[in-house]
Amino acid sequence: MSNQAVMTYLDETLLPYFFCPGCGHSLITDHLNATLVKLQLDPHKVVIVTDIGCSGLADKYFTTNAFHGLHGRSVTYATGIKMANPKLKVIVLMGDGGCGIGGHHLINAARRNIGVTVVVFNNFNYGMTGGEHSVTTPPGGLTSSTPFGQLEHPMDICQTVAVNGASFVARTTSFDKGLPDLLVAAIQNEGFSLVDIWELCTAYYVPNNRFNKSLLESTLTTLNFPTGIIHQSARPEYSQAYCQSVAEEAGKKPMPALPIQPRYKSDLDRRLGIVIAGAAGKKVNSAATLLCRGALLSGLWATQRNDYPVTVKSGHSVSEVILSSQEIGYTGITKPEIMLLLFKEGLSTVHSQLDAMTENDSLVINRDLLPIQTRAKVIPIDFKQTSHWAYRKEYWTIIALARVLHEMHIYPLEAFKEAVSARAEFAEDNLAAIEAGERLESN
């Protein structure tokens, strides 16, 4: 940018504005230009993001960057732009309509204190679609969609963002000669700023309500909506706070491969389907993953698919593990070779698999769930015989798996122990549980 002062940020070839005669949008657009002239910002470093509605026509007149987005979503694009390049000055122009449909985004932008400035062109109705009521239409206001008068309370945009963490909030009217100074302060604020500017829609709200400048000002008083700078606070700006919060992560290797070096040998020469039917919160999935890790330590291939309801600590939890000496494609198990039925919650989801099992297959079952109808060889486990493990149900899967490995020689139990030890979490208890499982067999 040259050292010469910028006299205007408007593209003069596009003037006059396309707004209706007397529309407040022309005044606000002029004020915004005056603001930018005061700030002398490099137009390459400014992005004006506009919403849908008549205010969305305003960006075209500016010689800065522009983003004209979808209705109510302007604040989200602005947030993405600011997060991605915090050096940019990002200014959102939106109407009261945008504040309604995009209210959620306004609240969350304020909560983050993201460094964008929102300029609200607030004329109490939808000028572009035919003068329907908006979230800011004053009580009794006549609009095309409130022909009998507005019944809803007007949203206080300023208080909404102020209580939710915005760091600069102001309200005024388009007639305010001091508006450029207010906008300068808003743009200079590092965090989230919002300036709610009340103005006249000469196409609809003015004729429908015999509205004028003095009624606009008296409405502010009637509603007890203050003007000027309403709220200021010093909070960290979000894009900077984010950078600081992740600073220590920089340079670490993302998602490194954690290869498992085979150290044991398995004689398994076929595909083995193992279904573990348990209950949520009983570490069924994590035990199944340890089974898979032990398999990899033994040179096998393994897959694990889990089935569970949307809840976390209630209902069934089923893991289907396939172990094979070869790469595994299809991961479903129609007929398991081994089923571990440990908790009653698991029973309901494995009926068809249980029915498909034959006398060549093994059902390792919690004794409490007997009797059960099956053709499979039944191997009951009496967890009451496992001393204190009887009360630590989250280790039952490990215990049962240890028994299966010990008895059926799928791969060495030592590999399972190593898989368990490699995970610091609960390693000691898991190892003890494996030993309890080993002892079961000799009982």
Partner: protein
């Protein structure tokens, strides 16, 4: 050397390899793992990953960030794609390169959050107003979650268009054993911006089927972006000729480049009268079924579609040679089979094998229902 990972991890690894440095998403089963991995992993490569207030904001953040030159991705499931819809249109209109992962779950509506499905296949193609094309890739296994994520970024950059990765609960969340070496060092397309000197017109193209040059916000040029029908300067227009040019361009830049986009695996057997066409997780059952059928002496061909949209018509038509039966297994009530049907020559019978009960289609079902016994 082998490791135990799931598709979600492979997608994240692929994204990071492809240079992704911005991610925004909203928690939804079964896509949440990708969000959580990205939040932890992207800062390591200087990237940004955040949880947005909803799916609409996820897309908004990504689109805004993309216009500053970031390489962006988001991930969701079917209900989230519903909320992405308006911004998918915006990304098409504004020619935003971005990758959208759809970890499909059972629909409609909230459907089955933890249940596998392939019900979004037509939805992804027709999920926003106007009917303009997008690119949809679908991996069949963990390795391809990595390679096709890389490919998705490549195509997004090449054509400045949203590219979907259509995966599913099984592929994303099932742990698989994979060869570490298989995560190869795939080529990454360098982002080429408009030259810094000289005139820059945001939406000027050299040919109707070529994307415009890009200049990021904060870069050397003034950039204008708009959701509205626009001229090459990014200014709203209703001039019929300009409107036609824009809209035809949005279609042509994808549809005229099928040769660059189409990805299939044609495992064709001379003399086969039966062809199985599949995609995504269902392909894994197909591979087993085909192997078994061949071991039993049946001649059968298989075509795996990796690039679902735009439809690889040339490759599908070529696979029809000598075929009387086409089996299309899908975890929906028959969606991609509609595309197969419209391409099939007279006399070819299309047999759909469909499941919408949350169970995978098994190799046996394909053998039995497909007449491959």
């Amino acid at each position: 050397m082998r490791e135990l990972i799931n598709g979600a991890q492979a997608i994240v690894r692929g994204a990071i390899h492809a240079g992704c440095n911005f991610f925004a998403g909203y928690p939804i089963t079964p896509a949440t793992d990708i969000l959580l991995y990205m939040i932890r992993e992207l800062p390591k490569v200087g990237g940004i990953a955040i949880q947005a207030e909803d799916e609409i904001a996820s897309m908004g953040f990504c689109i805004g960030a993309a216009m500053t030159g970031k390489r962006v991705m988001t991930a969701t499931s079917g209900p989230g794609i519903s909320l992405y819809s308006e911004n998918i249109g915006l990304a098409i209109m504004g020619e935003v390169p971005m990758v959208i992962v759809d970890v499909q779950r059972m629909g409609p509506a909230t459907g089955g959050a933890t249940t596998v499905a392939q019900g979004d296949i037509q939805f992804l193609r027709w999920g926003t107003s106007g009917g303009y094309p997008v690119i949809v890739l679908s991996p069949t296994n963990v390795h391809e979650c990595y390679s096709l994520t890389c490919k998705a970024f490549d195509l997004a950059e090449r054509f400045r268009v949203p590219v979907f990765l259509a995966t599913d609960k099984e592929t994303a969340l099932t742990l698989s054993t994979v060869d570490v070496e298989a995560f190869e060092n795939l080529p990454v397309r360098v982002q080429v911006n408009a030259p810094e000197d000289g005139e820059f017109v945001p939406y000027r193209v050299t040919a109707p089927d070529e994307g415009p040059l890009f200049s990021p916000y904060g870069g050397a040029h003034i950039m204008r972006f708009t959701t509205s029908t626009h001229d090459e300067h990014g200014q709203l227009t209703k001039v019929a000729e300009k409107v036609r040019k824009l809209n035809e361009h949005l279609a042509a830049k994808v549809e005229a480049h099928l040769d660059e986009i189409s990805m299939v695996k044609a495992d064709l057997q001379p003399g086969a009268d039966t062809l199985v066409i599949s995609y995504g997780v269902t392909t894994r059952a197909v591979e087993e079924a085909v192997r078994t059928a061949r071991e039993r002496g049946r001649l059968v061909s298989s075509l795996t579609i990796y690039s679902l949209w735009p439809v690889p018509e040339k490759e599908i038509k070529a696979a029809f040679a000598g075929i009387h039966w086409v089996i299309v297994p899908e975890l929906n009530l028959g969606q991609y089979s509609l595309e197969v049907e419209r391409l099939a020559p007279d006399g070819v019978e299309i047999v759909g094998i469909n499941r919408v009960d949350g169970e995978l289609i098994s190799p046996d079902e394909i053998l039995v229902q497909g007449g491959l016994q």
